[in-house]
Symmetry: C2
Subunit: 497 residues, 2 copies
Amino acid sequence: MDTWLLSRMQELKDLQGLIGLATWDQETYLPARAAPARAHQLATLQGIHHERLVDPRLGDALAQAGAAGLSDDERAMVATLQREREREVRVPAALVKALAEAQSHALHAWREARKERRFARFQPALQRLLTLRREQADAYGHDGERYDALLEGYEPGMRVSRLTPVLTALREALIPMVGRLTASAPEAPDLFDGRRYDKDAQWRFTLRLLEDLGFDLEAGRQDLSIHPFTGGTHPLDVRLTTHVDESQPLSALFSTIHEAGHGLYEQGFAPELHRTPLAAAPSMGLHESQSRLWENIIGRSRPFWEHYFPLLRDDYFPQALAGVSLEGFLAAVNRVRPSLIRIESDEVTYNLHIAVRYELELLLLRDALPLEDLPAAWNERMARYLGVTPPDDARGVLQDIHWAWGELGYFPTYSLGNLYSASLHRAAARDLPDLEGHLRRGELRPLRDWLRAHVHQHGFRLPAEERVRRVTGQGLTDTDFLSYLRGKYGALHGVAL
Amino acid sequence: MDTWLLSRMQELKDLQGLIGLATWDQETYLPARAAPARAHQLATLQGIHHERLVDPRLGDALAQAGAAGLSDDERAMVATLQREREREVRVPAALVKALAEAQSHALHAWREARKERRFARFQPALQRLLTLRREQADAYGHDGERYDALLEGYEPGMRVSRLTPVLTALREALIPMVGRLTASAPEAPDLFDGRRYDKDAQWRFTLRLLEDLGFDLEAGRQDLSIHPFTGGTHPLDVRLTTHVDESQPLSALFSTIHEAGHGLYEQGFAPELHRTPLAAAPSMGLHESQSRLWENIIGRSRPFWEHYFPLLRDDYFPQALAGVSLEGFLAAVNRVRPSLIRIESDEVTYNLHIAVRYELELLLLRDALPLEDLPAAWNERMARYLGVTPPDDARGVLQDIHWAWGELGYFPTYSLGNLYSASLHRAAARDLPDLEGHLRRGELRPLRDWLRAHVHQHGFRLPAEERVRRVTGQGLTDTDFLSYLRGKYGALHGVAL
């Protein structure tokens, strides 16, 4: 590839890495009074990244790179950067500025509205954001389905026409399943009834898990933050955070496993892709499939805890977990219960929370739902899908920060993560006949190595669904996820699902 | 001021802040395997900073800013940035690149040479660096004294013709003083004879000192690193590091006081200077005056320890310091002893180590000393000024990293720091009649506030010596420093100096 073009690709990736550093630092170590200074520094970096990306010389170089003489990877690098650049070029500078201001305003209004528990306080700011995001979607361009243009920013290649049938079928299968699981719930101890879980022991256990998972702590780290996330600056500098709460040991534990799933993906990109546009996951959904595979399918499974529960109880929390059995613990970490709040929900009902959001976003982008009707539409769907009704907007339509950030089109990637995770797990179990045995012996590396070989190392070489199809033999489907749930919860609840 | 020009000034400062973040992170939290990635990220940031600084549009805007309609601060901002820009513009891109390569090569050669304890291993790489730095100095321009052009990079406005007489007089006064102090040394306990100083207690004591010093931990932090330093991204985000060693409690203690001196300076810049070229110290020497004033003049003084020693011994290290008296402790932290290694030396002999380096650098830049004669010239001066002779080059000419970095012209700023610190302290004692009483009661804020009012807040409004003259009534002099040493050590050793 042309040296100038390659150096521009590397520079853009370096800038993204530095944005990653400034963001990570902001959530971990930044002194309180420095927040406005950091906002300026981030805006400067983002402005320079934008300027370099839309630079016409880059556009020319990409156009001239052609196909001749390029390797497959180089062709994919050019195509990936070209797509990213074209999206960025299409949005006028005035719109970028208006969006940034509207976001900042909406975040403030959202916080106030939550305090007042009243959507009307948030509505004008959200209306403004929605108007601008519609404009942005039209600027990106679409075939009549405006939502597609926003979805493309998180899930390149995915379309509403492909997604809706799958998510609708999933929803229709889950509603009765949740009913049956609620009715047949096994006895589970309350692990949080005033018991104290030593923070240092929690931290040590999470580090042990990272070690066992093969997360390379010479090429990454774990720190504390209020909201756990995965960030970093490079595949050899991947930064996880977790949150340790003395009364909620599962929070740190499952956060660490979840973020490690993301982190293993980032660490797994092939070295020849580093500092190129291919050192990235092809979609948020596929990224999320890795965190959810490890957190839910592995981290809440019986074989996993057959190995780890005795350790957790006897070596880390001998007092707090005294008298808790493996069966009780498994029931506690796999409790299915319709609830009001998405981030507290279990892996079964979770997708119904997403259905509510996805369907409402779709209506909003289609101009088919006046914003003042949003809270009622939210509550109606919550009642219909989950059988619960929010007592106020704070525990309803105002619960997530996403819309206040202007992130419309993001929510379905969570369900895509669940669906892809089950399909990939099925393929892994096919290729690793002793997968359960490995887990039972605390051997997590064989699965990590399989994921690295089949998913991680490839970065953005293929779109997400294409990657999954290569590995599993089929693309997006709810079959594997539903069959995973039926198998697992059928056994746990002793019912046929 | 022109909005565009101001926004360019802010952008440059943001980029410097981000370079500060990436550097701080590199020395504190960066995973081991990420070092090459970080080098790329830093090079990208520095490249962008350079590109923005030499941008001809910035040159035009600065030239057109003129004097009319500008406030005093704005005029100083324009002049400061103009000077910085002109230096950067004068160095051809090829030379910048050659210097970066030569530095990287020299660092490697220096490390190898230290292992082999043999200067000859380092000599060719240093020769290359020296040749390039001479070229660079000639590109910057000078009036026949090439050293001036490099010194300007660390100590704007200072000249060899002004510096040499002062440092020579200082040297001539110190040589006999060291002899008399060595001969009259008081009894001092060996604080490091196998005693263990709890690391956590050391850390807590350093935090207490930061609190007492008025270092704002909401606008800064302290972390651990191998070599203590002060960095950060903004006056509201100042980052100190210290080094805690179980057998060397004074290392963390004095490092923290030293770095806090730097940090208080950075935190003290007036808010109206933030994100402008004036949010900076006018020289390395004046910056160093703050760290040395706090570390040596205050932090090794009797009134300071009259307050802190009982605390240190009784509350933090009751076992390790059992039986140590205030007198013994003061003697131990003020031991004057000619030694081989600069960074282990005391505040008296320190300046003789600097004299050796400054005089040799001057000869090298004047082409008056062949590089192969450097070790012999080093050893000869060490014997003449300090009465000690390095047994090998590792403990002689190879001990400092500065020359391997290409930092020629930096060393004298350390002595300038000592000289300025004593002059500023004299002025503070004049304005604060109860300064000793404050220290005896552990009240460090009055001195901090005085320094903030007279030095810190002004940032780069005036050159260093001009700032000192405004405050003390005179510019660079060795009188105050020598009289400080005579007073302090005369009393400690019971001799007239």
